[in-house]
C-alpha cells in the first residue's frame, strides 16, 4: 500500500499518496527516507507516523499490507 499524506506534509510532498520503497521495513527507516526525499519535512514541529490508523513508535515494523500515514502536527478543534 502507499503512504498517505495529510496537512502540511501533503503540501510539502505535493501529493496525497507516495509509493513506499520496498526496502523500508520500520517507522524509523520510513522517517529517514521521507526526510531525505523531502528535506522541508524537517521544518514541521513534529511528524508522527501512523500504522493501521494508530500512532506508531520508531521501532514499529511496517509490512506491505499495512496502511501507513504521515501525520504532521494536528490542528483540529
Amino acid at each position: 500500500m502507499g503512504i498517505l499524506l495529510f496537512g502540511a506534509a501533503k503540501d510539502i510532498a505535493g501529493v496525497p499518496v507516495l509509493e513506499k520503497p520496498a526496502h523500508i521495513s520500520d517507522v524509523a527507516a520510513l522517517k529517514a527516507w521521507l526526510y531525505e526525499v523531502y528535506p522541508s519535512l524537517q521544518q514541521l514541529k513534529s511528524m508522527m507516523i501512523a500504522v493501521n490508523r494508530a500512532y506508531a513508535t520508531d521501532e514499529q515494523t511496517i509490512s506491505q499490507q499495512d496502511e501507513v500515514a504521515v501525520i504532521p502536527p494536528v490542528s483540529g478543534g
Binding site: 495529510f6 496537512g7 502540511a8 490508523r53 500515514a69 504532521p72 494536528v74 490542528s75 483540529g76 478543534g77
Partner: protein, 133 residues
C-alpha cells in the same frame, strides 16, 4: 456510556443536545468551538478542515474509552466539521451528560483538550492578506 461520534461537512449543537437528553442526567455540558475571524490580530476569511477520517474516528473512540475509565458519564458526543468553514461556523461540538454537573464539566474539558492533541484533523487558515497557513 452511550457515544455519538461523527465527522461531516455540517454539524449542529441541536443534534448533540438531542443525543444527550436523558431523564437520568441532571448535568449536560456542551462545548461549541466556532471559527474566529482573526488569529493574532490578522483577519481570517475562512478555515479549511481536512481529516484522516478512519484514524480520526478511531482516536475519538480512544478518547471515549478514557472518559469511561475516569468518570461516570452517561452520554458523550464528539462532532467535528470538515471542509470550508467561515467565521461563526461551528467546527467542533463536545457534549457530555451525567447525573451531576461537576464531572460533566471536567469530562467535557478533557475531551476537547485531548481531541485537539491527538485526533488527526488539520486546519488551513486563509487570511485576508492572501496568506494561507
Amino acid at each position: 456510556m452511550e457515544i455519538l461520534i461523527n465527522i461531516k461537512e455540517t454539524i449542529t449543537v441541536q443534534e448533540a443536545l438531542d443525543f444527550i437528553q436523558s431523564p437520568e442526567c441532571g448535568g449536560e455540558v456542551i462545548f461549541a468551538g466556532t471559527v474566529r475571524n482573526h488569529t493574532k490580530q490578522r483577519e481570517v476569511l475562512k478555515l479549511f478542515y481536512e481529516c484522516y477520517e478512519a484514524m480520526a474516528i478511531s482516536e475519538m473512540q480512544k478518547i471515549a474509552v478514557k472518559v469511561q475509565e475516569k468518570w461516570a458519564i452517561q452520554k458523550l458526543v464528539m462532532l467535528h466539521a470538515v471542509g470550508d468553514k467561515y467565521p461563526g461556523d461551528l467546527a467542533v461540538v463536545i457534549a457530555v451528560a451525567s447525573a451531576h454537573r461537576g464531572i460533566a464539566f471536567d469530562a467535557c474539558e478533557y475531551v476537547i483538550d485531548l481531541l485537539k492533541e491527538t485526533v488527526p484533523i488539520w486546519k488551513k487558515e486563509f487570511f485576508a492578506d492572501g496568506e494561507i497557513v
